[in-house]
């Protein structure tokens, strides 16, 4: 039944995780030489399915055929032998090693590392598929786009005929995305097959020949891309109509709550990461900070919250200078933060109640003198759980047992319950499904309405465009410009994200 035109056939694939059915009898058929999009929300099971194809997970049931042959894939090694390569969303690169060392990793032919030959082959491949990158550079010196090229080179170096790309555009600038798509088309011309995991509808229509939609671990449909449209795909993906636009009521903005003046800070590698950032966030406004990942977002948020030393410049919260104060002082003077790495905001093994008081445990009535008042703590936790509709069996449940959406709800509950003057939200919806995203967005708009200042730092341009009154674009640790959050500024924002445009300061919004 399997013919050679089918690059990959997966039948009845089942994968269970504790408490979750990640793949529930999935059938997938990918044709040779096509770009096949795998579309679905976060948690739909796309990545799990591809991890099974790549041998990282083992299916509980189901079978796989590769190039018409029945295949048992026990490890990535097996997958590589079958000509399958995978570029994970989080790059699997050794930061301290050179590009060449990364590319040849795991290639066991002979003992001696023939660096020159390897470098030569990498250069040839790079030229053929226009994947420019310096083979001698160390990975940590490379941009996200370059790192992705290294990942693709790794697969090509091993002669991969089938390439899986997991959310490949999430870290790229618009122009880098264009280049990637060109490379992919080039590869299909050479006979490669590409499986493209995404949750972005425009990418599906822009790049793929066919698309398979997954929802809650099941295949909903497989369609020819040319014979469908974004609206239909959205409906299939979510199972209902999606709210593409949220109503943003006009709010009268007040005084500046956060003022940042010529802020400088270093990265973990002691290189300049923030090079003179200046901006203001006013009461009743959402200021979005757009930018491709790794341009100083993390350092910026850490410098604001006091977790990273500032090497120059000033930070003012309301009217007091807080540039060099301890995190605790900033929290107590009205700064709240939803960090992008949720792990830093929670203690997974501790109960929801104990997590809810992480920011307020020092204050009466939650603590009295040196003692914690457990009664008040419990009442406080119960109130927040109810108010923000956190779904949990009880307040004693360890946070690690909650779903991603509920964890984020609990986090927002905690951060908003203190009535902060300033809320810093970093990638607040990454990894959340459409429903949870909507809840978070509504909560942020609600803060704006209540006259709080919101600083939204996000790599998701859609999110920034949807929510922000003004948008500052961060590129290599500098603000390239600040514009109003209107659709017709999109092109300018894209150019600034790529570092191709810098607005003179007097033109900033």
């Amino acid at each position: 039944m399997a013919d050679a035109q089918q690059a990959v056939v997966m039948r009845g694939v089942v994968k269970r995780f504790p408490g979750v059915m990640a793949n529930d009898g999935v059938d997938l058929e990918v044709w040779r030489g096509e770009i096949h999009a795998l579309l679905g929300e976060n948690g739909a099971g796309k990545t799990t399915l591809m991890n099974i194809l790549y041998g990282i997970y083992h299916p509980d049931a189901g079978e796989i055929h590769v190039s018409g042959e029945h295949a048992v894939i026990r490890s990535p090694q097996d997958a590589i032998h079958l000509g399958i390569g995978m570029v994970h969303q989080q790059f699997r690169l050794v930061q301290t090693h050179t590009v060449t060392e990364n590319v040849i990793l795991g290639m066991g032919d002979g003992l001696l590392f023939r660096e020159r030959e390897a470098r030569q082959r990498i250069k040839e491949l790079a030229e053929k598929y226009s994947l420019q990158v310096d083979p001698e550079a160390r990975v940590w010196q490379l941009s996200a786009g370059e790192q992705q090229r290294v990942e693709i080179l790794k697969a090509l170096y091993r002669g991969a005929a089938i390439l899986i790309l997991d959310e490949p555009t999430s870290m790229l600038t618009p122009s880098e995305i264009e280049e990637l798509l060109k490379t992919l088309h080039r590869m299909t011309e050479e006979g490669h097959t590409i499986i493209f995991i995404t949750h972005k509808l425009d990418e599906v229509t822009a790049v793929s020949h066919r698309v398979t939609v997954l929802r809650r671990g099941k295949v909903i449909a497989t369609l020819e891309t040319a014979q469908t449209n974004e609206r239909e795909l959205a409906h299939l993906m979510v199972g209902r109509e999606v709210l593409f636009r949220l109503a943003k009521e006009p709010v009268k903005t007040g005084e500046a709550v956060l003022r940042v003046d010529d802020l400088h800070a270093l990265s973990d590698k002691n290189l300049p990461a923030l090079k003179g950032i200046s901006l203001e966030v006013c009461a009743g406004e959402i200021l979005g900070v757009a930018g491709v990942a790794g341009n100083g977002q993390r350092e910026f948020v850490e410098a604001l919250t006091g977790l990273r030393p500032v090497t120059g410049g000033f930070i003012f919260l309301k009217d007091s200078e807080i540039t060099r104060t301890a995190p605790r002082v900033r929290i107590d003077s009205g700064m709240s933060c939803v960090p992008s790495e949720r792990l830093t905001a929670f203690i997974p093994n501790m109960s929801i109640a104990e997590n809810m008081i992480l920011k307020t445990y020092r204050q009466a009535p939650i603590s009295k003198g040196p003692l914690l008042d457990h009664k008040t703590v419990n009442a406080y936790a119960d109130r927040l759980i109810q108010e923000y509709a956190v779904m949990t069996p009880s307040r004693e449940t360890p946070v690690k047992l909650l779903s991603g959406g509920n964890i984020q709800r609990a986090l927002l509950a905690r951060e908003l319950s203190t009535q902060p003057a300033l809320l810093i939200a970093a990638s607040p919806t990454s990894g959340l499904d459409v429903g949870a995203t909507e809840t978070v967005w509504k909560l942020l708009l609600e803060q704006r309405k209540q006259g709080r200042a919101v600083l939204l730092v996000s790599e998701d341009l859609d999110e920034v465009m949807t929510l922000s009154d003004r948008i500052a674009v961060l590129y290599e640790g500098e603000i390239m410009g600040i514009v109003h959050g209107e659709e017709n500024n999109l092109e300018q924002i894209g150019l600034m994200m790529a570092g191709a445009l810098r607005l003179p300061q007097e033109k900033w919004a």
Partner: protein
Amino acid sequence: MKMLRLGLEPRRHAPRYVQVLGLAFSLFLALLAIAIVFLALGVNPVYAYQRIFQGGFGSLYGLAESATKSIPLMLAGVGLALAFRARVYNIGAEGQLLMGAIVGGGIALNFSELPRAWLLPAMFVGGFLGGALWALIPAILKARFRVDEVLTTLMLVYVASDFVRYLVNGPWRGPEQRGFPYSSPFSLNAQLPHLGVTRIHYPTLIIAILVAILLFLLLVRTKLGYEIRVAGENPAAARYAGMNTQKIVLLVLLISGGLAGLAGVGEVAGIHARLSPPEGISPGYGFTAIIVAWLARLNPLAAILTSFLISGLLVGGDAIQVALNLPSATIHIFNGVILLFVIAGDLFTRYRIRLEARS
């Protein structure tokens, strides 16, 4: 053909009874493994265990000795439980214990004429400070300069041992000891009272139990305890919440060092009544206390129980050392194997284990 296979299924949360059963089972496996070691070394394990059990728990005398030896284990163990909770790996309780013994002993030797009601408390306070200051060195190195505490606390054990040796061989050697490396005996005022005919120096035991209860309350009832638990579980979250993690590191090291110091005072004032070379003051209580803490799952209250359990093994171990003519290092076998199985026993809390039939 059907085959039985051991299956591991990860579990996200283990109820308490699973944790307790898992611990008990690992302890059982540890004793089994030690039996194998004994067998390999040509010792009849059934006989050995009989002697151990009889020695440690089988008589009033044995029980009293077990209680005596549980005192230093409990004091040092609850301190370590607190430090490990904050994920501060103080491995050097042995050295802190010795420094406590030195300071306490120094006070005993130099102020021997003070009345008991002054002298003994002064020795305890001095011992606590001695142990705490000894722990302050790695504490500052870690909090201020990010030097890993595992090695520094451990290195200071060797330094403290050599320091004790230096003192009892040199400046503090008793003139009446005819060249043997001992200090002069403590005055009666510097000696702790015993319970009846036993060697249980009950003032120290009472202090130890009180401390265990206090530390338990500290962990669950106070802001500081909350901070310690958060810092141990997730240091990044602690910093994000505005906690002073350096202060926590300093504090838990000082407390655990001080408590080990108290244990040292208890040993010299309650048992030996003089200073002797380090092996004479402590047969490695500071290291065994690590097991006490781990076996108690870092819960200070449970450490009261586990210190007694482990000290029973120690006493029983002494009995077979004499009976079978084994070197004193034998006890390390117990320590090592039990510790290994206890940490491996976490398997039970992380996985559901079941037999599956596979065709």
